[in-house]
Symmetry: C2
Subunit: 433 residues, 2 copies
């Protein structure tokens, strides 16, 4: 039995449940939608990630004795609500964009249909997971697009919360990263892990020769040697002297990476180490990767910038009540009306409009009805939970494949790094038809 995820929740969800139970509205059928009002400033697309983790967390969303004892002791809710929580088990329906899918402003990324109390309780957990993982995946996708097939290694664990690090490694993998430094992400999510040595390892030894010789003896000639602790040129020469021209790789973690990559490649080639890979790892982001594309680099290690969403650490998604049962038993669209946070009421359905060549043209959103498919289009909402049971895959590998395919549909302009508008427009069916 996994630890309960039920208290990863805002206090006010529970007080709302209490008030709704008291008023008799707790079971009123409701539709909650998760969407982003806009993409981060200048971004051309977003990537949904975390869907699988939401579904896995949902299975563990139970109020056990320990959780109930805390709520009772702190008088968060009354006795009736505690009894209701003790029996809580999500029994509703969830649809959503498949994990790895591309999204745009207004895309209904996760749609929860349930009684009010059942659905409102999930708000914080759904948003925490999707906002974090999608922020990382959206940044990571720009990096892998910029790397044009050169492998990207996620190594930012030390720059984010220790559990966020595990999720970040997974999200980066979904968005095309090849591996991670994070061992728990390997164990928990099956992400391939990688790594060899840090500067501290070299400094531990009397000199670089001893450090390299010991590393090669223990990890073999296919290892990657870190060559920038003292003098890069001397270290590369030493590395090939000790390992032979079959050395697996060298890593550069400081300095001007573009010029160093050229120099090191030339030096390696001159020493016959033509197959030795050059890995670069210092403060990279999508822009640095793009700038290094013309340099002879074989792999990019990315840290801080990928795990913190490259300037946008939260995806800005919200979870809103958009439709609920009225007094007459029929579903009615609802929306906050005042000032700057107004949203569109009614349940959304979504379609990616595609041209005959399969290229994405628009995000079509129908309100209270499924938009018609022109023949080349792709329905975006898939069933995730039916009657409380998870019915969709939750693994990172499936999401990674989906992301690759979905991104390939985007027009070329979507992959530009410069500030721009969303790559395709979001069109509400009212406007379209």
């Amino acid at each position: 039995m996994n630890p309960s995820t039920a208290l990863l929740t805002d206090h006010y969800e529970l007080t709302m449940v209490q008030a709704a139970l008291a008023s008799g509205h707790a079971d009123r059928r409701c539709v909650f939608e998760t969407f982003a009002r806009r993409l981060p400033d200048g971004r051309r697309y977003g990537v949904v990630a975390g869907t699988g983790r939401v579904l896995e967390s949902l299975r563990d969303f139970r109020f056990g004795e320990a959780e109930l004892a805390y709520l009772e002791e702190q008088q968060v809710v009354d006795a009736r609500t505690l009894r209701w929580l003790a029996d809580y088990r999500f029994s509703g329906e969830v649809w959503g964009y498949a994990e790895g899918e591309i999204y745009f402003p207004g895309s209904p990324l996760m749609v929860v249909e349930a009684g009010f109390a059942e659905g409102v309780l999930l708000e914080t957990l759904v948003l925490s997971v999707l906002n974090h993982d999608s922020a990382v995946a959206s940044a990571a996708s720009r990096m892998t697009a910029s790397a044009h097939g050169r492998p990207c290694i996620e190594m930012g664990s030390r720059r984010t919360h220790e559990q966020a690090a595990v999720a970040a490694a997974r999200a980066a993998y979904v968005a095309g990263f090849d591996s991670t430094s994070n061992l728990e992400a390997g164990r928990r999510h099956g992400v391939p892990t990688a790594g060899t040595a840090a500067h501290s390892y070299t400094l531990l030894h009397g000199d670089e020769r001893e450090a390299f010789a010991n590393q090669l003896a223990s990890l073999g000639g296919s290892t990657t040697l870190l060559v920038d602790t003292y003098d890069v040129r001397a270290a590369v020469e030493l590395a090939v002297e000790l390992a032979g021209p079959g050395l697996g790789g060298v890593r550069l973690d400081s300095g001007d990476l573009v010029s160093q990559a050229h120099e090191v490649r030339e030096q390696l080639d001159s020493l016959g180490a033509t197959g030795t890979r050059i890995v670069v790892t210092s403060d990279l982001d999508e822009y640095a990767i793009a700038a290094l594309q013309a340099a002879p680099v074989d792999a990019y290690g990315v840290g801080t910038r990928v795990v913190t969403g490259s300037g946008h650490p939260a995806a800005g998604m919200v979870y809103k009540l958009v439709s609920r049962e009225g007094a007459d038993g029929r579903m009615e669209g609802v929306a906050k009306a005042s000032t700057d946070k107004a949203s569109v009421g009614g349940r959304k359905y979504a379609l990616r409009r595609r041209g005959p060549d399969g290229s994405a043209q628009a995000e079509i959103i129908g309100i209270d009805e499924q938009p018609g498919d022109d023949g080349d289009d792709r329905t975006l909402l898939v069933p995730l939970v039916r009657g409380g049971e998870v019915v969709a895959p939750t693994d990172a590998r499936t999401a990674r494949a989906h992301h690759e395919a979905a991104r390939a549909e985007l027009p070329q302009r979507a992959l530009r790094l410069s500030h721009g508008d969303p790559a395709i427009p979001t069109i509400y069916l009212d406007d379209w038809s």
Copy 2:
């Protein structure tokens, strides 16, 4: 028994352990230091947070059967290393700044002395926790300083990873926030929790009157009613009509908060609800709080910006080998020499130089020796772990009190929000004496 934290670690720590075991250097005495090369751009001080969480995680840093099985299956390390890991238990010494302490560039925030393999294994976990929690606390402290005693409520759980949210609530509390929306932070760390209702609660009902009446009936007249779902003026009138002038509070979550706060205060007062509090909660950060100080606001709810470090989601701390046993058995300072990431070798000791009035004047750092106390100074490194046993408090409340006292020593300029240099200089003893 808590879950193991041992795989919250980068792959390369384990390959370094393997290589060091093979070469016979694994037990070589080493000193690793955690420090930040600089503060985030324009910040005048940083706040150390997460120290208590590091110490708690250290207790659970064990390689159990499940962890070892994963490492073996994936061939991360060899059989000898697996046997060594199976017996792993940190047996070294740790000193550090007390949690909640103020820091500056170069401050030796956590100093780990242990055999190489024992110490190097902690790098990722120490950095993940300190970089995350300190980033949040450093932002939070600017917010509470700007609020000048008005309560700040942390409510950003939905904008960060679900477990990072719990740690963020704790870090914000350390830096002077009064409460959090996050229930797990209440249970796990004793942070007071708060919250009443969201827009979805109002929209659930046929109209605002029904929603407010039900909330008041269930949660009592001391509750806070959210008044911006439709029309603020009408909602405030309705709120006082239903609750009476003793209504606890109203919350504004959108629009121009400054002008609305004035209007709502006037309206509340005219209705006799002079004690009804106004809580504001829309996209606040330290600058918005400062701008609202002249408005009649009673509490600030802060979300995204506090949990994401207000533009600086990672504190940029590094964990470096600075000293190790040489071939002659004596400790020697070591440091990476090349290019842009050079650091200062040797073990650091630190003192906050204070004037006779107790005001902080400089961060004095001694290399391989404790700086002399002028009589008014404060020693900054305290023992955290002795012989593998945690000897310091790990709770958030102690850290919160420490932060309040440490911040009070800073010169007034430290609390300005504008871009500036570190509030006091960091002086290495070589330069000072």
